[in-house]
């Protein structure tokens, strides 16, 4: 039966595909135009009507990005920052989330509300004193400034707590009778079960860390300590209208996240759906 219905072209489904395809073209066109422009000469980029496919591929645009700015350093800074923040959040958020979800202790609710209330306040209400702390500690223009304020997270604690609370209660009872302490229960029993939650948090942290712009602009003005996002802003300052070079820079800054998304798509989608339902 299914093969019969498959063969008949369903007019409704055709309309759906047409609408979705038009939308898809609008979604993807800016990316294609970025890639095409990044290998054009400046002359080709300003021709009317536009050159779609360049005569020869201008790899110079990419080398220009690397020679005018320390783009290799930008990669390094972004990658180190992202890894440290992600590992930190996975560790600290899951520890706190376990305690809030599975242990009873005095002050539990007050402390949890204190941590969660952070989410109600816009970031801008914290950022000036955070900057002043960085000045005091002489952390300006260091990777430490990019990393340390981001190793704990109220969002992550909340997300993982919801996750831990949904696990059955008798899981740790057996372990307790065997004399396991809470750290062992957390490490051996809870963490493996919380994998979907941890993956979701990791994906959010990686994305936010990689793409963040305002904090790096504020604390790291020295090019050797900038991440890619702030580096892209500098590149724009230097090549105001030279769009092929700017597109090469934009491509260099974005391809790792795009590639990661394409390969780990399932986890991205599950993670976001999870935050939507557990939140």
């Amino acid at each position: 039966m299914s093969s019969k219905t498959k063969k008949r072209i369903n007019p409704n489904k055709l309309v759906i595909h047409i609408i979705l395809l038009v939308g898809a073209v609008i979604m993807i066109a800016p990316f294609l135009w970025m890639v095409l422009t990044s290998v054009k000469t400046f002359g080709e980029s300003t021709q009317v009507p536009p050159v779609i496919i360049p005569k020869s591929l201008q790899w110079e645009n990419f080398s220009k990005v690397f020679t005018t700015l320390p783009f290799a350093m930008f990669y390094w800074n972004t990658i180190i920052t992202t890894i440290c923040k992600t590992v930190g959040q996975l560790m600290f958020c899951s520890l706190a989330a376990y305690a809030f979800a599975r242990i009873k202790f005095p002050g539990q609710n007050v402390l949890f509300i204190l941590i969660i209330s952070v989410l109600m306040v816009p970031n801008q209400a914290y950022i000036i004193p955070q900057y002043l702390i960085m000045v005091k500690l002489e952390w300006l223009n260091t990777l430490t400034a990019l990393i340390v304020p981001g190793v704990t997270s109220a969002f992550g604690t909340f997300l993982l707590r919801q996750f831990f609370m949904s696990l059955p209660k008798d899981l740790e009872d057996a372990a307790k009778i065997d004399g396991c302490n809470h750290f062992r229960i957390y490490w051996r029993i809870m963490l493996p079960l919380a994998k979907p939650g941890l993956i979701a948090l990791a994906i959010f942290t990686i994305l936010w860390s990689w793409n963040d712009l305002m904090w790096p602009l504020i604390v790291n003005s020295s090019p050797s300590k900038m991440p890619l996002s702030a580096g892209l802003a500098s590149l724009q300052g230097q090549y105001i209208t030279e769009f092929p070079v700017l597109m090469a820079g934009a491509l260099l800054a974005t391809w790792p996240m795009i590639l990661m998304f394409i390969f780990l798509q399932k986890y991205f989608v599950e993670g976001i759906a999870l935050s939507g339902t557990k939140g």
């Binding site: 800016p30 135009w33 300003t46 005095p106 109600m120 816009p122 704990t152 934009a250």
Partner: protein, 316 residues
Amino acid sequence: MSSEVSVNQESDVKIQKKTKFWLNKQKRGDYFWAYLMIAPTLLGTIIFNIWPLLQSFYLSFTEWGAFGSYSWKGIVNYERLFNEPDLLIALKNTFVFTILSVPLGISLSIIVAVLLNQKIKGVTFYRTLYFLPVVTMPAAVAIVWKWLYNADYGLINYVLSLFSIQGPRWLTDPNLALYSIVLVAVWGAIGYNMVIILSGLQGISTTYYEAADIDGAGMFVKFFKITLPLLSPTLFFVTVMSLINTFQVFELIFMMIGPNSLVIENTQTVVYLFYEEAFINNDKGYAAAIAMALFLIILCVTILQFKLQKKWVHYE
């Protein structure tokens, strides 16, 4: 007999004492581990959130001089918020931006999600393409769209010229620039909302639709009478998140317009104004007052939404 009983009682008491002691020890262990486990997060929260929030509040009453010195000036900064046009203009821009981009973005996300929820081929393919902007760095998105919007050589005006339409100056026309950025924000957010809405749609039991089929309900009746009400908790979540995010839009304004543009007054949002005052003009007292105002506004809007949710959100 009686002695036997008393022996039993004695041993009971002993066991009770023992268990009580054991419980206490266990409890003490619990507390120790709990505090140890929350310590890093609690410390981070106090140092980087609670204390800064209090300090921001204090700073909003100060005026900043050269070399990072500041002095108490009372409510001067708050008076400036009301007397100088900056904040009002930024607020107006932020409201226009939000009121256009949130409903437009969510409606489009619902349409895409509903279409993807039909049993069609290529769902993963479509989902990938629609989601791509979400994982792309906003700073890069801004540069690419700046290029697309370029009035003389941009792709968009070229496509318009094919239909004999003279394309506008998207980012330099003071009456248009803000709306141009709204389009980019909508384009960038569809994928994220779509994924959440799609998972909400998949949670709706098919029995509702089967019942509606028996009653002979049409596509639109089903959408408005079944899908939307059952989806309303998801839509509530998406709306709250979208509002908070668009209220804080910064990257697109900073990268696409920037401090040197003539139309910055027509496009600057509250968070952009905050950044400019705090870190370009070094007027941190005034900026702190802006941050406090933003906090208050977001708080009010969120409370309002939770109050209003009773009117339109249906929980099963």
